[in-house]
Amino acid sequence: MTGLRYVYAVCRPFGTPLQSQLTGVAGDPPRALNHHGLVAVVSHVPERDFAEEPLRAHLEDLDWLTETARAHQGVIDALTTVTTPLPLRLGTVFRDDSGVRTMIEAREEDFRHTLDRLEGRVEWGVKVYAESEPQESARPAQKAASGRDYLRQRRMQTRSHEEMRQKAESFSNRLHEKLSAFAEDSRLHPPQNPALSKATGRNVLNAAYLVPRAHSEEFVEMVDRTKGEVPGMRVELTGPWAAYSFAGEAT
């Protein structure tokens, strides 16, 4: 069969077959390529879309990228239900199977080491948003009657912003401390851009936690208990994800 090889993840051999109706990027079902006791999960992708030049061009197309990223994540997700995958970044493409085999041989040690480290673990994403206050309170309610009034209003405004910032900071710090003490590992990510996430409020914490699958329920409950603890703070939990944030070198 012609086409390039798109690689999603590297895993240990797993017994359970993937869902039969699962499709990967470009609509081709993913399959396992066994080599040296490791499994690369690959699918065929057309050269017209995935060769270097067209891929670069496609990456600037948000609709194309959305579809491809969701398909990539769909395969990783399906893998997460049957094994512990080591997820690769989007856009890892080889000319043919032998290119994939060469890559596996070259990084065998790393893969085994990382797979051992991640075995049976999943990633949970926790975000804290400071809800934006209603605009009325941020602006002077009525026209200031005097200069002193005006300055006082300005000062109150600044102070309430500052209080909100401090409140959000101490809440996030406490939460992160508690969760990272429970988790095996954690990563702090930069706050998300609201233009892309469409989330309301200011993202003050964006973290990922590596948690053994067996302790996940406890972790989820721990996060749930903090919801509504401090007014104006919104806690969001996503997961379980494959251990994307921990797939790189250990710190």
Binding site: Q73, I76, R89, T238
Partner: protein
């Protein structure tokens, strides 16, 4: 104020692929995971990711604008023009206030002008 839609995650549902926030998916799929150089030279290295992210934000901002969401244009924290407008507005307000004060106390203003 609108209540934010809270997508409750299903802890053991493994349904991320379809339901998850696009920003969350892109954050992980584009930015995390291991980097392996494919044998055709497509490896998303950090510098490229940065430009992709910038382009993405530009793309989504345009889209949002089409839908009439343009709050960042009037938010001083996000737009330098809005920040200038804010300053101009404050300045005008202060001038007006000063003028009114001088009207109330003409003596003081005159004293200053003719020492």
């Amino acid at each position: 104020m609108t209540t934010p839609s809270r997508r409750m995650p299903e802890p053991y549902g493994y349904g991320q692929g379809s339901g998850a926030n696009l920003a969350d998916i892109l954050e992980r799929v584009l930015d995390k995971g291991i980097v392996i150089a494919g044998d055709i030279r497509i490896n998303l290295l950090d510098i490229e990711l940065l430009t992709i992210k910038l382009r993405l934000i530009v793309a989504s901002v345009d889209k949002a604008k089409e839908m009439g969401i343009d709050w960042w244009e009037s938010d001083p924290a996000l737009s330098s023009r809005a920040r200038r407008d804010e300053l101009t507005r404050e300045n005008a307000e202060l001038r007006e206030r000063l003028a009114r004060l001088e009207e109330l106390e003409p003596g003081r203003a005159q004293k200053k002008e003719a020492p």
